[in-house]
Symmetry: C2
Subunit: 372 residues, 2 copies
């Protein structure tokens, strides 16, 4: 985290504490307020283009048999997060759990029984303070790699990401403290599969096309989502998402672009509404002569008995998403359902290995042939 952001988060934590002390002094039942996280309170923000939480809030009280325990846990976690920030440390949610687990003196009761108790309380705190867990110095499982013409300062080290061979930089859980020192990039390309990243790096695509390649390795980690957002917002770089042409790939796109229902409160920082899908599209099948290497959708089509299920159902559901209401997306998803096929990005290897780097991606970008 950058220092000013750390200061802001500590201020929020302290003001939560002050507020509770004030309530105690005034003889009130100590409590704090947090947004309701159920789906009924998830909205699509048209202006921002992301999923957000609505205005419904709920209160958690100390003097309430059903809430006293989680109230205590929230305060414990808030206090430990403040400590982490002030010490300049980060911790996994597992470490946090172990640090806070102890038997309360004088009681035969543990502060926490298992991590299933602490994890939701962390989310409560995130929403109550409007701070991501990364801002509270809590880390998630890291995943993903970065390659390309950008020099990043990370913990005082200056890393030129064009000089990391085929290994690349491991994208950590927390990237807010990255300083982008200089870059020569024209765009960011987020790629679903590690196999495709290997292909592009091996073909020197990142060097030849001044592309920052981010490997998402399936559903992107929080680190990759935040880094995509930062690269776009701080460096004003276009973001192209390159996934398989199937409901799972499009869902990855959807999460990167607009956020997810469950974590709607994080969308503004973790999503990139301006991102576009570069492929694979259903039109690609005919455009690039890939009819022989499509795969069948799994499940039952809408017109089959008991349908739609499986991939068909996911595609149908996605047609309802507010950010997929563009006619291009409706056509895309309908075409997929009608043809009953999916097309993977690695299927481009059926032409020749270098086809994706020499023809497919450059053509798409030159023609600005993207999905919104």
């Amino acid at each position: 985290m950058k220092l000013e952001e750390d200061d802001m988060t500590v201020e929020k934590l302290e003001s939560l504490g002050d507020q509770i002390i004030e309530q105690i002094k005034n003889g009130e039942n100590p409590h704090f307020e947090k947004p309701v996280r159920s789906r009924s309170n998830v909205e699509f923000d048209e202006t921002e283009g992301v999923l957000t939480l609505g205005d419904s809030t709920s209160k958690r009280y100390f003097m309430n048999i059903g809430q006293a325990r989680s109230f205590m846990q929230t305060i414990l976690i808030a206090q430990k997060c403040k400590e982490l920030i002030q010490e300049g440390r980060t911790a996994s949610v597992r470490e946090l759990y172990y640090q806070l687990k102890h038997t309360i003196p004088g009681l035969d009761e543990n502060t926490l029984e298992d991590q299933e108790e602490s994890d939701p309380v962390i989310v409560d705190l995130e929403t109550a303070l409007d701070s991501l867990r990364e801002q509270l110095h809590l880390i998630a499982e890291p995943k993903g790699r970065l390659f390309g013409p950008i020099t990043i300062e990370d913990q005082g080290d200056e890393v030129n990401c064009l000089e990391l061979g085929k290994s690349g930089l491991g994208v950590p859980s927390i990237v807010d403290d990255y300083e982008f020192l200089e870059h020569d990039a024209d765009y960011v390309l987020v790629v679903e599969t590690a196999g495709m990243v290997n292909r592009l790096v091996e073909e020197g695509y990142h060097k030849e096309h001044n592309a920052i390649i981010l490997s998402s390795g399936g559903q992107p980690s929080r680190g990759v989502r935040r880094l995509t957002n930062l690269l776009h917002n701080e460096l004003d770089l276009p973001v192209y998402i390159f996934t398989d042409g199937d409901p799972w790939g499009y869902y990855i796109y959807s999460v990167l672009k607009a956020g997810s229902m469950n974590l709607a409160f994080e969308s503004t920082r973790l999503s990139t509404p301006d991102a576009n899908l570069i492929g694979m599209t259903i039109e690609d099948i005919d455009e690039y002569d890939l009819q022989g290497v499509t795969e069948k959708l799994k499940g039952k089509a809408p017109d089959q008995k008991g349908g739609p299920t499986g991939d068909y159902k996911r595609a149908k559901d996605m047609m309802e998403y507010e950010w997929f209401q563009h006619k291009e997306w409706q056509k895309q998803l309908q075409d997929m359902i009608d043809r009953g096929v999916r097309i993977e990005q690695q299927a481009l290897a059926s032409k020749k290995f270098e086809f994706v780097a020499e023809t497919y991606l450059p053509e798409k970008i030159e023609r600005s042939n993207f999905l919104p």
Copy 2:
């Protein structure tokens, strides 16, 4: 791959081809020989300390209704791998599948129907040629990160792994072409969880203790296994494995040390028989006062009705492994079963976050307190 190794693999591929041409010229039924991979042919090699395949072999014939298709596929894959090596390319097994999938001219038959057909044929080729898939230029899913005082040449780039902040180097699938240019390391520490790696890097453990830290992120990838082997064999560095003290953690250790049943033919290159377990051990629970943060083993204990199941069964099974016949390991696993508990590496955070870096690991190493 290094060039001399590439040459050797191409030679093996060509000699397979030559042999088949010779058979055809002689009017023989074209065939090749490969080791039997079933468990009956898996042996523990006492001298090397790894699982290997025994001497049983089987033959695959072209003129055999049950084998003709996979014979054809083997030749196709062999030919494509030779092409990959000669072009200096690598490919994912998914790309390979797509490259080779086509309708055979004049027949209404595809070379490959799905990847489930090509994957086992790749393993056949690996065993027949005694070449790892990495030597055939086929990549697996990459996972893992590296931090520490070593400079690696990767594709012409010189990467100082001490200057990669908290991000680290992404360990690729193929590491055989890494050149270790210089290093100042005293040992290699392979760590099970990403959370623990974050802790150690944040505490500057790799810098202060001249340690190369490899993050395995659960069951280690092939890249991490091979890299551990190479760092040990080429640089003569001791290897310490740091896992949770539970059957899963010990299985990770077992695979890193001696290989796995399913991939016994790869043990010599992917395993490190000299590796030791640094922790967590069951004795650590008392030694470091961790009684309050153990977790219960899952499943039924051996003395319960229907037991052992779950964790207990895994621990019992492991007691039978030939490389766990040391009395320390027998005691370790028996203690775990008797106490019915497991202890995670992140449980050390219950002391304080920095405890693992300042006390636990340095003490263990100073006292050479390892499991064999």
